[in-house]
């Protein structure tokens, strides 16, 4: 039973090793530094994004005045005498996002109410993966679906519908965003304490009344935050509109014909129309900057709204 190492007891061996632990000490001091560098890279990414956008946008604004960018009603970058007014792109972006929200908000919210208030555990466990799958489908697939299925389908009802139009990508984008609204809203509603529901049920309220008059108001800021995030997502969405929305930057509010979004413009230009160093080339950064500001603002708003919500309980 007496072991071989009895001559040198373990604690002696450990002390010996401890006295020459140079290598281990190096690791011990290096690892946190390495991880800190990793963490700093995420900050550098943001700085890189901001710096890139600001710097190249600045170059753009040396050719095109800020006033023209904001106030000119037209966006014709490839014309002999180009116009760089962001308004048509903004209009296209928000029109399509609006169409998407018209579908995603009601359907997403209703799904959330169903999941949080009506569905049994078992149903919830089957519906949620479906939503996850829907949210995980690449956007190019949705774009393809919009162009080759939804548009022809809509054309049977709306004869004047152009092949590239705002309606079809709007609807498909809505379908894509439903899972986001549903799952974020459901999180907010599930967080409402059970006691609030029980109080209302005890007074004879129906499930509908409890859902709409007790749970929804209590979860309102979380639900609204989910809407804002969904809009931000719709504004930043690219491939659906590139594939199915066409490339016509127009200020006409005609959803049956082509409209161009900011994202679609950026992709269109980088597909080869813009030579490096031209004003058109720099215009994609100015548009990117605009896009970045809008989405960042909405993300911050959503953050502020949902933080307020957290304070309630």
């Amino acid at each position: 039973m007496m072991a071989d190492h009895s001559n040198t007891p373990i604690h002696k061996m450990i002390e010996e090793k401890a006295s020459k632990k140079g290598m281990a000490n190096v690791t011990e001091t290096l690892m946190p530094k390495f991880f800190l560098v990793c963490a700093i890279i995420s900050i550098l990414t943001t700085i890189g994004i901001v710096f890139t956008l600001v710097f190249e946008t600045f170059t753009f604004f040396q050719d095109v005045s800020v006033v023209e960018f904001i106030t000119s009603p037209d966006w014709y970058p490839m014309f002999q005498d180009p116009d760089f007014g962001i308004r048509p792109l903004l209009l296209g972006t928000f029109t399509i996002a609006f169409i998407a929200m018209c579908l995603a908000i009601p359907v997403g919210l209703a799904s959330a109410i169903y999941l949080s208030e009506y569905a049994s555990d078992k149903t919830r466990r089957t519906v949620k993966p479906v939503l996850e799958v829907l949210a995980g489908i690449p956007t190019i697939v949705y774009g393809f679906f919009a162009l080759t299925f939804i548009t022809p389908l809509l054309q049977t009802f709306i004869p004047g519908l152009a092949i590239y139009n705002a309606l079809s990508p709007g609807i498909v984008m809505g379908i894509m965003i439903i899972p986001m609204v549903a799952s974020l809203s459901e999180d907010a509603m599930s967080a409402v304490p059970q006691s609030m529901r029980q109080g209302a049920f005890a007074l004879g309220a129906t499930r509908l009344e409890v859902s709409l008059k007790v749970v929804l108001p209590a979860a309102l800021s979380g639900v609204i935050a989910s809407f804002v995030l969904a809009i931000s997502r719709a504004v930043g969405e690219t491939m659906i509109v590139t594939v199915a929305g066409g490339a016509n930057p127009t200020a006409d509010l005609d959803i049956t014909s082509s409209m161009q979004t900011m994202t679609a413009y950026i992709v269109q230009m980088s597909l080869g129309d813009a030579g490096f160093g031209t004003t058109v080339y720099y215009s994609i950064y100015a548009v990117g900057m605009t896009l970045f500001i809008f989405t960042l603002a909405m993300n911050i708003i959503a953050h502020v709204i949902s933080n307020r919500f957290r304070e309630e309980y």
Binding site: I41, G48, P138, F144, G204, G236, I266, Y285, L296
Partner: protein, 301 residues
Amino acid sequence: MKAARQETTITTEERLQEPANLSVREWKNKIFKGIFTAAAGFSLLMLIVLILRIFTQGIGYLDWNLITSFASRNPSDAGILAAFVGTIWLMAVTAPISFILGVGTAIYLEEYANKNRFTSLIQTNISNLAGVPSVVFGLLGLTLFVRELAMGRSIIAGALTMSLLILPIIVVASQEAIRSVPTNLKEASYAMGATNWQTIYRVVLPAALPGILTGNILALSRAIGETAPLIMIGALTYIAFLPENLLSQFTVMPIQIFNWTSRPQEEFHLVAAAGIIVLLAMLLLMNSIAVWIRNKFQRRF
């Protein structure tokens, strides 16, 4: 609430009668329940329609030829070989970069960082990065990697862009996995005289690994379907060669699909659908692996 309180003061007789509006309210409840259920069912329906549609379109072009051929002017010869290999290359390079950066950041935030303003700055920054549109990452990649660092329209430029794009997803998932390692295991390790790094390396990471891997795979499956940022950095839409090294030009499956979708000929749409089937199959495979890991290594503590 006030109205409800009045209800509780009704007399016994009244109580025995059904409230006049009860049946109306119950009907309303039933109707709305139907509406809510239909809304939840709508997503399921859309998923089925989308999948069925794509399968019926693409199945005719789905054969071995699709995988083994390069893109072509002729739809019936067209294949996704270059895109398929390009996607694999891109993922193979993106995976380790984003893993190290993401998990490293998570370890820093969960295990080393003090609760100070710098730490909360990093945390806020990560949640904001998650909301930045992917085209904007494309602009960053184009400027920084393709031009400034002169990497050209290469795999490495694409992989770095993709790594930054999915970094927030990986960080958040890894943080959650690390946070869920019970403190008493860490205490046990420290109490044995282990150092910080020994504890992280030998106790925390092994216990958090399933969660970390699941998060990484899901993040990669997001990257595999991304199109816009790679178009931005100039991944090609038509190539007839395979990438050879990190500096090779490349294309990926979503870009190839985009290219076919943009063609006017109907046949190319069908090839695109076949390409989508392959892409979805890859996604399904990755997600199954993630779910498998999650179930197999279900938390045992």
